[in-house]
Structure formats: structure tokens, C-alpha cells
């Protein structure tokens, strides 16, 4: 669901660009970026747990 949701957000953002809603597309893009960063942090912490 994590990756699927992020790709869905990006797809929504592209659709909003096509339908000329720059602010919505921009906000969705930034939300996708923030969620991706959180997912990376989650992955890093779980890998660290495995290593420890």
C-alpha cells in the first residue's frame, strides 16, 4: 500500500497538471515527497534494527 499510494499520489498530481490545476498538483507533489522521505526513514530504522 505504501508504494502503491505514493505512485497514486504522483499520478493524481500529473492528472491535475493536465487539467491545469497548478496549485493542487504542486501540493500533491510535495506531499508525495514528504511521505517518501518518511518511508525512507522507516526503511532505514527497520534495517538498523535487523543489523543490531
Amino acid at each position: 500500500m505504501d508504494m502503491l499510494g505514493l505512485f497514486f499520489l504522483l499520478l493524481l498530481s500529473v492528472i491535475f497538471i493536465i487539467y491545469q490545476k497548478p496549485n493542487v498538483a504542486f501540493t500533491l507533489g510535495l506531499v508525495a515527497l514528504i511521505l517518501s522521505v518518511l518511508l525512507l526513514i522507516h526503511h532505514m530504522t527497520t534495517t538498523l534494527e535487523v543489523q543490531l
Binding site: M1, I17, L30
Partner: protein, 201 residues
């Protein structure tokens, strides 16, 4: 005389705008070609993507997203910032994966392509995207934002189509690999079923 100078500068601005838009479209084509290459690795060489690979693919689509905004709404610094942020994020993710796999006792993930692993290629491509966006910033002008943007041309529409197709393809891939749950680490190499976890001795 003043009017003539204005008209010349406007003409050069329009030319510069067109050149920058063509470069942005080329960048989108390049990024989508990389994603199609990863689809080839996934479906024809049966190399299942790991969570970090998906995050890199998200960064590729995100970098293209900023370029698409530039193509649709005209060149603005905030759209270039979107591309830059996503490519920096992608660079961090690929650096993380490179560092994971250079540890002693850790196998390399995936088959090498032209001597390098896919995450190393991703690192180089993200570095190139960052550089290209910085060059774009150098050549962008505040008055470019005031220019009226014409209707989408065929090569701009093609860039949109490619991004939509690649994103839908990635959604399908994520659905097949991870179902509706969280994506898990993939064992590599697949035949020997070797775990990626570091074994404490």
C-alpha cells in the same frame, strides 16, 4: 529605439523559453527511458524490485513531475525546485543502497548493466538531473514567467503520456509485488534464496 530593444529582448526570451522547454521534455524522455529499462529488468530478467528500488522509481517520476509543470505552466523556479528536491531524494536513496551493498559479506543486488548495478546507475542519473536543473536555473529568467504559454505541442503531450504510462506500470508492479501491504525486502540471488540480512558471526 527603446521599442526595438524591447522587441529584441522579447524575441530572445521566447527563443530561450523554447530551448529550455525542449531540454525539459528531453529530460522527461530520458527519465522515462530509465524507468522502461527497469521494467525490462523486472519482467524479462525476473529481477523483483526492492523497497529502495521503488523509492528510486518514485524519485524518477517526481523529477519528471517538476519538468511536466514547467512544460504545462511555463518555467518557474518553484517547479524546478520540485525536480531538484525529488532528484536529491533519489540520490540519497541510491547512495543508501550503494552503501548497504558495499558492506563486506553483503551480496550485490540485481544483475549488473554495462558493468554497474542499477542503483549505481540511478545515483549517476540523479546527479546528472541535479546538474541539469542547476543549469536550467542559471538560464531561467524572471521574465520567462510572464510569457504567455501556448497550447501543448505534440512532443510535450508525448512526455505527459509517457509519465502517465510509466506511473500506471509502476502501480501495477507494486500491486503485484507487495499487494496492498507494505513492500518487503526481496531475497537476492533469487535461486539461492540468500537473505539480505547481515549474519552475525
Amino acid at each position: 529605439m527603446m521599442k526595438r530593444e524591447d522587441s529584441i529582448s522579447l524575441k530572445s526570451l521566447k527563443r530561450r523559453n523554447t530551448v529550455l522547454l525542449v531540454l525539459e521534455a528531453l529530460m522527461v524522455y530520458g527519465l522515462m527511458a530509465v524507468l522502461m529499462g527497469s521494467f525490462h529488468e523486472e519482467f524479462f530478467k525476473h529481477e523483483a524490485p526492492c523497497p529502495l528500488c521503488y523509492l528510486q522509481r518514485i524519485a524518477f517520476v517526481g523529477s519528471a513531475l517538476g519538468a511536466l509543470m514547467n512544460l504545462r505552466f511555463g518555467i518557474k523556479t518553484k517547479y524546478i525546485a520540485v525536480s531538484l528536491l525529488f532528484s536529491v531524494f533519489g540520490n540519497i536513496v541510491s547512495t543508501r543502497q550503494i552503501l548497504l551493498h558495499i558492506c563486506p559479506g553483503m551480496p550485490k543486488f540485481g544483475y549488473p548493466v554495462y558493468g554497474l548495478n542499477l542503483y549505481t546507475w540511478a545515483y549517476l542519473i540523479f546527479a546528472f538531473v541535479i546538474l541539469s536543473q542547476i543549469i536550467l536555473l542559471f538560464f531561467s529568467h524572471a521574465r520567462l514567467q510572464e510569457l504567455p504559454h501556448p497550447k501543448l505541442r505534440w512532443w510535450e503531450s508525448l512526455a505527459f503520456l509517457l509519465v502517465v504510462l510509466c506511473t500506471v506500470g509502476n502501480m501495477a508492479s507494486a500491486l503485484i509485488e507487495c499487494d496492498f501491504g507494505m513492500c518487503q525486502d526481496v531475497p537476492w540471488p533469487p535461486t539461492e534464496n540468500v537473505s539480505l540480512e547481515i549474519k552475525s558471526e
